[in-house]
């Protein structure tokens, strides 16, 4: 049944990503250049609603939580490498698949690059596991563990901060009237 749920969630997620414009590499670059915060505000809203939803529901429903471990070197180095690729290509692992669905040609190259990157990681895994993935592993810790507060309280606090930020910050910053990319 999980497979069916995941397929349906994926379809809905694909529609949302396409509609908000996150599968557009130009939109991603405008986000990273802080010219257009639409995608960042979309993500922040998603997290705000999700975190309250999950932790409020978890007080009276069994939830399938799956916290990823915090191994400092791998998580931070991986994020820094990911950020470079994000800015170079304008895609993330999911948005290039959505992009292929909406017939973007360059999305195929991002997917191929992704498969190549995963292949490279597979080949070097046994070399980097001990130095990068094992040390400084704090396990499945959450912000609630750090501040010693109930998760639902931290979730509501985080949501309040995120929603305040998306409300106060401007969405589009026009720079000399033009801040957009062209097409080939």
């Amino acid at each position: 049944m999980s497979l069916v749920y995941a397929l349906l969630v994926g379809i809905a997620m694909g529609v949302l990503i396409q509609r908000v414009g996150a599968s557009s590499p130009a939109m991603i670059l405008r986000s990273l250049r802080l010219q257009d915060l639409t995608i960042i505000k979309f993500m922040a809203t998603t997290i705000a609603v999700g975190t309250v939803g999950v932790y409020v529901l978890s007080t009276f429903l069994p939830m399938h939580l799956d916290i990823k471990p915090t191994y400092l070197i791998g998580v931070i180095a991986g994020g820094l490498i990911f950020g470079i690729g994000f800015a170079v290509g304008g895609y993330c692992p999911g948005t290039c698949v959505v992009g292929i669905g909406e017939r973007r040609k360059d999305a195929w190259f991002a997917l191929l690059g992704g498969i190549t990157g995963a292949l490279l990681f597979t080949l070097v895994y046994s070399l980097i596991e001990a130095p990068l993935l094992k040390p400084f592993n704090y396990g499945k810790i959450t912000l609630a563990d750090l501040v010693h507060a109930p998760a639902v309280v931290v979730a509501i606090g985080l949501a309040a901060v995120l929603l305040t930020a998306v409300t106060l910050l401007p969405t589009v910053r026009a720079r000399n009237g033009e801040a957009r990319s062209s097409q080939v």
Partner: protein
Amino acid sequence: MTDLTASTPLAVPRAATKFPRWATLGILFGLLSTAAIALYGPIGVSGTYPRFVGALFRRVLPEYAAANPYLVKMGSLLTPETMLVVGLLIGGFVAAQLGSARAPALETVHAGETTPGRRYRDAFLGGLFILFGARLAGGCTSGHIISGITQLAVSGVLFGAAVFGSGMLTARIIKGGR
């Protein structure tokens, strides 16, 4: 604004014009990610790539696939995450078909992308870096940033900060394409 609207179709009419579109879509995505965690587990994408690599190896080099600790750890493609990725493809297709504006086949995002070939090069290199980084960190935008921070995971917060810090710096160094 012509090329901009192509990537952000305005097909869905909204009654409340004051309420921003990103907020509506963000609320829907938040409810969706909550539903996923209630039904089967947090959304994630990037693990599908090494599982796909593993499926290829099991076809052509089964001994290597069985001996590589990472491919063994990641397991087969028969997981909810694979189905989610299939769904993304369908969702992107459906949304594009129903939308009024067609997505451009190619958008250039950097000044150096003067030919389609150079754009493809950047897309390929970008894809390579994001997947290597995501596998090193154990998740991507979906698994670490959306699902991770939603579950208040410290790893998600750190990954998100690293991604946006490095992404903003890189975008600045490359210099904008117009």
